[in-house]
């Protein structure tokens, strides 16, 4: 590692800086504005460059890598279209607080604003969807800018940072020094929760008779899952998780109520509706969680722990805010209170709700169903796999039926709801995760949005299990059309237009299968999990019209929960 001051080109400074940041892998695609960087990259041996097929794929790969490891995911693309193709991935990372740094090439400084070839104002375009972004205007600022980018992306509430690199900056030369210090007087994330607030919270939870922990992705990001387990177990507290929080607490544990919200379990919804103290840990009261705001946990004293002050009182007014790193706050809470709460009545009530409407699906008609396949995958991987889902019905079924045991094991696009996330994100995760299977689960719609990245998976021989749950419909939209839009199945039927997924897989270099019987599921999954020489694709042809239950309609209350499809006779 070069440490003493010396004259280096912008391109050299770029890679030296990445080395200082301990970057091991970058996802990228070359082009005119970054040629000089790729020229240097040719001889760089301390990091791996993954060649993607589309820049959106690169951003989701970086997200998958970051979510699975907690490290910063890095993307390198060219100017103009290369840069604009990263926008969806950046917005996704922003909504789900994923630490990624995206480096975009830019036309030479002198040409900026001239509508030069492959010019786009990517700093302007991404301003509202990045935690911060930079246009490097002087090569002397390059190293410190990269340092700031990684620092901002990975600290506080994590998020995407974009660094725009004009071509002339990369080519010019200056003295290189990688400082350990960062000067950002406008950015001081608050890591330590206020002691008095924490004490007060502990006293209130101690007195609760119907407490509930509402756990979000922040617990996983902060690495606070051990603290959460300790706190929940020692105090006998029920735990419900958001989509991003799944895995923060083992779902096989009797204290787990599973997911809450629109498609959460019946008993989690009832627990929210009836609890007297709700402790939100690294969650942001998203509308998919709360439904009708005024009716969310109506009787509860609400405690909200979050590192981002803007999350406090944004959607739901809380009684006791604690701004700070949730790992630290949980550790403090655990030290304040460690006696099981006498809440047997509450547990009896919760367990009664569990029995009232357990998660269920039709099993007697011999048809192949997504829920069954997911249960089987959960069983065969013992809840230890890294499951990367897309967006839609299958995503909710995974959240309901896969029993996640570990944090950083459930990777999904939650906030933005980006179809096409699963395939590339699984690839990013598979570069880091070698000791557990990585399973990508998509619907037939979302799969087609980034299926070109199968080529990347095949080229790098990543042993990813690509599962397509094909119901020949944009299933979640179909479900809403059936429930709320007069059964006008407008442009959601893909049965006429879907490709032959087995052939697609084969053409792109994957071992591929198609299955349509529940009787074949066991064998094909065994074969899938035993095959580790490269990626494998399994298309499951599932029933077309299944719906995700329970569902609390958008903006509705727990009272309006639907637990099953009504017979036409029951509907008035």
């Amino acid at each position: 590692m070069r440490t003493s001051k010396q004259m280096l080109s912008g391109a050299d400074i770029f890679f030296e800086s990445l080395k200082h940041e301990k970057v091991k892998i970058i996802f990228g695609y070359p082009g005119g504005a970054v040629l000089k960087l790729y020229e240097k990259l040719y001889d760089v041996d301390y990091l791996k460059h993954v060649l993607v097929r589309h820049e959106q794929g690169a951003t989701h790969m970086a997200e998958g890598y970051a979510k699975a490891t907690g490290k910063v995911g890095v993307v390198l693309v060219t100017s103009g279209p290369g840069a604009t193709n990263t926008v969806t991935g950046i917005a996704d990372a922003y909504m789900d607080s994923v630490p990624i740094v995206v480096f975009t090439g830019q036309v030479p400084s002198a040409l900026i604003g001239n509508d030069a070839f492959q010019e786009a104002d990517i700093v302007g375009i991404t301003r509202p969807i990045t935690k911060h972004n930079f246009l490097v205007r002087d090569v002397a600022e390059l190293a410190s800018t990269i340092k700031k980018a990684f620092y901002i992306a990975s600290t506080g509430r994590p998020g995407p940072v974009l660094v725009d690199l004009p071509k002339d900056i990369i080519n010019s030369v200056c003295e290189f020094e990688y400082s350990d210090k960062i000067e950002l007087r406008g950015y001081k994330p608050n890591f330590i929760g206020h002691q008095n607030q924490i004490k007060k919270a502990a006293n209130i939870i101690k007195k609760a008779r119907k407490p509930l922990l509402y756990v979000g992705g922040g617990v996983i990001m902060s690495g606070g899952f051990r603290e959460l387990r300790l706190f929940a177990k020692e105090n006998n507290l029920p735990v419900t998780m958001t989509l991003q929080g799944l895995g923060a607490f083992p779902m096989t544990d009797s204290q787990s109520l599973g997911m809450l919200g629109m498609h959460g379990t019946y008993w989690a919804s009832q627990a929210v509706d009836n609890c007297d103290v709700l402790v939100s840990l690294g969650a942001r009261f998203d509308d998919r969680v709360t439904g009708k705001i005024e009716a969310f946990a109506p009787n509860a004293y609400k405690i909200h722990v979050d590192i981002d002050p803007t999350c406090i009182d944004k959607n739901v007014i809380v009684d006791l805010p604690i701004v700070g790193d949730v790992k630290h706050v949980l550790a403090e809470l655990a030290s304040e209170m460690n006696e099981p709460l006498p809440i047997n009545d509450w547990w009896d009530q919760i367990n009664a709700w569990r029995k009232e409407y357990p998660l269920s699906y039709e099993t007697d008609d011999g048809k192949l169903r997504a829920q069954y396949i997911i249960e089987k995958i959960s069983e065969k991987t013992k809840g230890e796999a890294v499951i990367v889902t897309d967006v839609g019905q299958h995503q909710m079924w995974v959240a309901q039926y896969y029993k996640f045991n570990n944090p950083r094991s459930h990777l999904t696009s939650g906030g933005l709801g980006t179809m096409g996330f699963s395939v590339p994100a699984a690839i990013g995760a598979a570069f880091a995760i070698k000791d557990r299977p990585v399973v990508s689960i998509s619907g037939d719609g979302g799969f087609q949005m980034n299926m070109q990245e199968l080529i990347t998976a095949a080229y790098y021989k990543l042993p990813i299990k690509f599962i397509i749950l094909n119901n020949s419909f944009l299933g979640m939209v179909r479900q809403w059309q059936e429930l709320f839009h007069a059964e006008k199945f407008s442009f959601t039927d893909l049965s006429e237009s879907n490709p032959d997924f087995k052939k697609v897989g084969e053409a792109l270099g994957l071992k591929s299968f198609s299955v349509d019987s529940p009787l074949a599921v066991d064998d094909i999954l065994d074969e899938t999990f035993n095959y580790n020489d490269g990626p494998i694709l399994i298309e499951f042809k599932i029933v077309k019209e299944d719906m995700v239950f329970p569902i609390i309609p958008s903006g509705a209350t727990v009272k309006e929960i639907m637990t099953r499809r009504l017979d036409p006779k029951e509907m008035v």
């Binding site: 301003r127 935690k131 911060h132 950002l184 406008g186 981002d308 002050p309 803007t310 009182d313 007014i317």
Partner: protein, 176 residues
């Protein structure tokens, strides 16, 4: 909750794009801006933005938090309810007739403004003062026919001396 005007002073890095970041945040979050002004401070690397916005307490709390969240903002102060000075500059070009030129110059004097330009049809007044004073001038001049107007937006500073009643519990105190 009651919607109220707030004057918020924001110190930002004098960087390329810092102003834009603030403006983008306001439009992206759907906060409204009555006026916004930006200029240098005593420290060249720092700019001061004065933003006049409106909203209920909850919205203003979010405005302040979201401003603080931007990496380029160094300090955010809601001056509302604090002893402060507020000034705005307006240039107002108004039509005059033969008989009423004196009337207009009198109005200008009453508001302690200056006539900064004149031709055979119009007079241009330069007025400084708190925004409500500018509003008053505009009201009075409207019947004469305002040809053009440019308002600078409010600039504001906390009063130098920390008075005892500073932070008067959200009650509006404005000395001019």
């Amino acid at each position: 909750m009651i919607t109220k005007k707030h004057t918020i002073s924001v110190l930002v890095e004098n960087h390329f794009g810092a102003f834009n970041r603030v403006a983008t945040m306001f439009s992206g979050k759907g906060f409204n801006i009555h006026s916004i002004s930006i200029g240098e401070t005593e420290t060249p690397e720092v700019s001061r933005m004065t933003i006049v916005t409106a909203g209920d307490d909850r919205i203003i709390e979010q405005v302040v938090k979201q401003l603080n969240r931007l990496i380029d903002t160094i300090k955010v102060i809601d001056l509302t309810g604090q002893y402060r000075v507020e000034r705005e500059l307006a240039l107002i070009t108004v039509y005059y007739q033969k008989g009423n030129r004196m009337e207009i110059t009198n109005i200008c004097e009453i508001f302690r403004g200056n006539i900064v330009d004149i031709n055979n049809k119009t007079l241009t007044l330069g007025i400084t003062g708190p925004p409500d004073k500018i509003d008053a001038v505009v009201n009075v001049l409207e019947p004469y026919g305002i040809k053009e107007m440019a308002r600078s937006g409010t600039v504001a500073l906390k009063r130098g001396e920390q008075l005892k009643h500073d932070k008067f519990d959200k009650k509006e105190i404005l000395l001019t």
